[in-house]
Symmetry: C2
Subunit: 253 residues, 2 copies
Amino acid sequence: MRTADELRALVAAALAELEVSPELGALAEPVRYAVGGKLIRPVLCLAAAEALGLEAEEALPTALAVELVHSFSLVHDDLPALDDDDVRRGKPTVHAEFGERTAILAGDALLAEAFRLVATSDRPEVVRELAKATLRMIGGQQLDFEGGAPRVDVHRLKTAALFEAPVACALALAGVVQDERRAWLTFATELGLLFQVVDDILDGDGFVEELGPGGARALADEHAAGAHAALAELDVDAGVLATIAETLATRTV
Amino acid sequence: MRTADELRALVAAALAELEVSPELGALAEPVRYAVGGKLIRPVLCLAAAEALGLEAEEALPTALAVELVHSFSLVHDDLPALDDDDVRRGKPTVHAEFGERTAILAGDALLAEAFRLVATSDRPEVVRELAKATLRMIGGQQLDFEGGAPRVDVHRLKTAALFEAPVACALALAGVVQDERRAWLTFATELGLLFQVVDDILDGDGFVEELGPGGARALADEHAAGAHAALAELDVDAGVLATIAETLATRTV
């Protein structure tokens, strides 16, 4: 079983070598430009797959697909009509670099590439999990823009859906049946909410504005504890998954 | 085997009853608003499925998925940063009616719903065909915006891809093997190009500007003949498919 760092290196290498569809032509450049970052979601997918007895390589196209859905969501979320952000990960956002039209099409292409990749699996339920998570995430963005919904409800959709997707896809790849799924998905949801609260702590917004720094830290600790408790229910070697949860709880970037 | 009109009624009823994912919340309204029109692509999918010996109902989720990909492409194509169209099918476009942010998210949701629907099939190759066609279509939009490419190259991607998709998906659903695919896909490509040339004839632009009205009509006739010639190679009852080709060649709206 490989460490989280080894899995991340595997994902990074696969992304660097990823051949986007030749028909995309000049969109290949903004598509590649949009992909990158911490790669938490694909690493989570591979770690879950390995804990479930698969080789990480078997889950790699699915893991990349989840990352492309995440990238798609960022490209469209950054657009002037949505969050209107010009900088992400220390460089210009896709629309700031390539223009708005290209950013819309590149986001669309990322989403379609994600489904092309996930459909290389012979299990249609993997595709269904990714589609369901994508729809939840989009619904969460809508809820966020509308305002008025409890913050945690927004982030169960907007953020946690793309932490649940890599785990749900790994479960589908491994053919895990219904009654073992609950603890796995609880782990993923708690991880997603932990990620979001820590994000807000690092940015000083969101949950920090709502609960204060101490309240937000306590909430992060609750979600971290929830993630570890869910892992403890699983009859697998959860060492790498526990490390991922610890890394998310203590990250400073 | 049902007529094209009967198949269209089947598609229209299924679209009217289509339950979009509850997580989409308020996006359900613009998503539903965006769907409609002539329903050529899903009818083509069902007609191909029936000619291949399937019940149309078996292909219905896939047929709807193709239509949702088409709807997604129109919603994003109409956006201010792309074609900037305020009217489609005699009513305000999605962004004109609901705002740009909602139109971007509704388009994203339509694409994700399409993959949710197509993945209800147990055949991942159907998902792969739809993803491939979507990527070709997006690549065609990019090529169109760049300018300079031959018009027919643009429309092989931008337009014909979503005529090939319903046929390719029906072939995948029916488990048709490689050597029977060629004539089927030639039929679909010719149909797509026929559709586009007639569109330009009705709008007085595109191929009409390039070739004049007589030249465009001759080109339409060529593509219609190409579609019928491909059908003649198939060892199936192609009556309904021939009717679809005739309807596209002679349509006035």
